[in-house]
Symmetry: C2
Subunit: 221 residues, 2 copies
Amino acid sequence: MGHFIHLSEENYLKTLYKLTFKQVKKVNNIALAKELGLNPATVLEMVRKLASKKLVKVSGDKTIQLTESGKKNALLIIRKHRLWEVFLTEKLKYAWNEVHELAEQLEHVESEDMIDRLEAFLEYPAFDPHGDPIPDRNGNIKSKTSVSLASAVHGKTYIVINLADTSDSFLDYLGRLNIKPGSKFKLVEHNQYDNSSTITIQKKMISLSEKVAKNILVQPA
Amino acid sequence: MGHFIHLSEENYLKTLYKLTFKQVKKVNNIALAKELGLNPATVLEMVRKLASKKLVKVSGDKTIQLTESGKKNALLIIRKHRLWEVFLTEKLKYAWNEVHELAEQLEHVESEDMIDRLEAFLEYPAFDPHGDPIPDRNGNIKSKTSVSLASAVHGKTYIVINLADTSDSFLDYLGRLNIKPGSKFKLVEHNQYDNSSTITIQKKMISLSEKVAKNILVQPA
DNA sequence: TAATTTTATTTGGTATACCAAATTTTTTTA
DNA sequence: TAAAAAAATTTGGTATACCAAATAAAATTA
């Protein structure tokens, strides 16, 4: 059987993928430990294990990188997660910001075949309810050309494509403002004083802090 | 939070329920260990743990019994298992004898609310694809008045209601004969020589061994 | 560059859930 | 009832995945 990937290892791979592909700076022990909420000693141990399985490699400067195999594994886990999120919102009528935790559990059910069937049942969705693209069964993913709201041009109309922060507090906050992937709005201006952004959405004018605006990814409408 | 029930504990409770309610003889350490495929030492340890959580009690003669709380827990796990089985067959088009392993994994996803929604999505099925009744959200289950094929009356027509053995080999065997819950057949006779039963199903005459017949539960058609 | 801070690693420890083998207790059988 | 068999339990062990605290190494800052 060789070595198969445990539940916990899956979380490391998935988190590594997210850190590697969504952040600019390099991923080290500490960053990974912080993201996972674990002790650096624990993470070090596991990273070594993953390295021995050729799923990650650690460079001279201690940067942790996914190998091709590790990346593919991560993308297949992300595929499962996102397909389950689609199921939870479309079929079980959950709100898009309620599904993360449940998908987190469901993604660890082991069966590629079941996921392929789930994908067919959901009629091959391209994006999850947060606007993230769903990798195909070979681990290929399409990247989207979106920019952060903070760096968008004022006076234009945009559509929310994705959210760079998946924390509950962030998603809840946006939920209360009724901002979600697919939402259309006009960017009125960036305010020099505090770098906040003012938008009009559904006839309401809303001001979003710099931190919030940076985590909202948009495309021109 | 008190104590919450772990994945492994759930398997013990579920297995205890099955042994207690589907078998006649009392359930002891050895029987439970054999059913779970575990070492008696392991089972003893866990049974003590479950007892300390008031989920089981061990009588003077070492019989292990579920408490009310343990029984309810077991039934809620069985509820999850059976609802997922319905999902897998009805929505993902699995055959009724392919879903057990997958449901085994899915049943451990923790969310009563999700299961209630799943039940609604599936339009409140009363039975799983094997013909077993699905407990409601309070852990209530309807028992059915079925008899084993081995003790049914010859010359009459029956419908397969349920299967008392869920092993792969048994289910595969029945699958090849195209016998499943819902199948209709006529019981021709019980053969005195080896206690086998002869039935006609879909115009074919089939002889079933005593062991097989005992594990097929039927109701008059 | 020396001091400080940050990062990486080691060390010794925990809990869970499992095991094999030895032993004790109970039950069965001769 | 004594011997044998079966069941229950104890003992000492494993692997996984986690931790806190100590130490070592590297990077940063003064």
